[in-house]
């Protein structure tokens, strides 16, 4: 019965669709270079952190592989948003930042974005730096600090993960709006254009952020049930919380 309803729902919402990243050639060259310069140090930190963690613990490898695949899939998966009649995609960087840390999450996003730019006509090589900065860096940092802040305040794991996913998604589109407004504004006032772009994103990204929050909470809770020891190793939870899980 549940399967039947799932099929019906998917048939109702499924349609040929496209998604988003800043496309090739949209940003002027100086801005494209500036976003590269801002994004690449985080990718370098991600490579360093990945090497350190891989040397410390071999079980880290499958977790990185899993999240790299998940970020790649969901960041090129166009989701139809009926309230707006448009499509966009979740980012997955909130989930990756909670489980791997913000630097490795930025690296994972960079690889996913490169593959999409090269083979899926999704994003672009000139705008790769800008897309890494918005989705990889800002998305990861927003998700990570939201999660850590909420956990420090004693918020339950699932709820903290939900808000981390939500913040990661919304922060990504805020950053995309800033990148776009600063790159294309010409003589137009920056804040006015930023406001227009943000408002245009709202009908699509508002519900999609909630979906991303739910996906993030689902993934974190699934790992909590199946492999709580990994969450302890990654300092997502404490050993005491695992005993509470039973």
């Amino acid at each position: 019965m549940v399967k039947l309803f799932t099929c019906i729902t998917l048939l109702l919402v499924a349609a040929p669709a496209q998604a988003m990243h800043i496309s090739e050639g949209i940003l002027p060259l100086p801005w494209a270079v500036a976003w590269y310069a801002l994004a690449l140090p985080f990718v370098a930190l991600g490579i360093r952190r990945l090497n350190t963690l891989a040397k410390e613990d071999l079980s880290f490898k499958p977790l990185v592989g899993l999240l790299a695949a998940v970020v790649f899939i969901i960041s090129c998966m166009p989701v139809p948003v009926p309230t707006a009649g448009t499509c966009s995609h979740p980012c997955g960087t909130g989930m990756a930042a909670i489980l791997l840390g913000p630097y490795v999450s930025s690296l994972v996003a960079a690889v996913a974005l490169l593959l999409q730019a090269l083979f899926l006509s999704h994003g672009g090589i000139s705008t790769w730096g800008a897309n890494i900065f918005s989705m990889g860096v800002i998305g990861s940092l927003a998700g990570y600090f939201t999660f850590k802040g909420l956990r420090a305040m004693g918020v339950p794991l699932g709820l903290a993960a939900f808000f981390a996913g939500l913040q990661a998604d919304w922060a990504t589109y805020l950053a995309t709006s800033v990148e776009l407004a600063s790159g294309i504004r010409g003589s137009e006032p920056f804040l006015l254009l930023l406001e227009k772009i943000l408002l245009a994103f709202v009908p699509t990204q508002l519900p999609l952020g909630i979906l991303e929050g739910a996906m993030t909470a689902g993934m974190v809770m699934l790992l909590y049930r199946k492999r709580p020891d990994i969450l302890v190793k990654m300092r997502v939870i404490t050993a005491g919380e695992v005993q509470g899980n039973g």
């Binding site: 109702l12 050639g25 949209i26 079980s59 499958p62 707006a84 499509c87 199946k226």
Partner: protein
């Protein structure tokens, strides 16, 4: 014996309640989809369900004289894009499944080594 039968009965009842709740959770989504597809104008536009890259990013950019260029490797030609998206989804899905299995096998290894240590 009676306890077991009672437990089985209770499990069956819980299963039925879970299924009913799952169906109830899907109903608002189905209704929402039907209603919004009927009343949402962009869902009936000539190019249905455009991405926000077109409706926001490229729209704002083109209004200010910045047009998107052709990608380095242009796969957006006919059904080629469908093919590469399907291929990417398949490879990504297999990779995710493979690593998920590795993670769960890791759990069994941890449990086994704990048993050995106890012995």
């Amino acid at each position: 014996m009676a306890r077991n039968a009672e437990k089985v009965h209770r499990d069956q009842r819980t299963g039925k309640i879970r299924k009913a709740l799952s169906v109830l959770a899907f109903l608002p989504l189905v209704t929402f989809s039907l209603v919004s597809q009927t009343f949402c104008p962009s869902a009936f536009a000539a190019d249905r369900w455009p991405g926000v890259d077109e409706t926001v990013v490229e729209k704002f950019a083109s209004e200010r004289g910045r047009e998107a260029h052709e990608p380095l490797i242009n796969t957006d030609q006919g059904d080629l894009l469908l093919f590469v998206f399907l291929l990417a989804g398949t490879i990504g899905g297999f990779a995710a499944g493979y690593y998920w299995r590795m993670l769960l096998e890791g759990k069994n290894k941890v449990a086994e080594s704990a048993k050995i240590k106890k012995l």
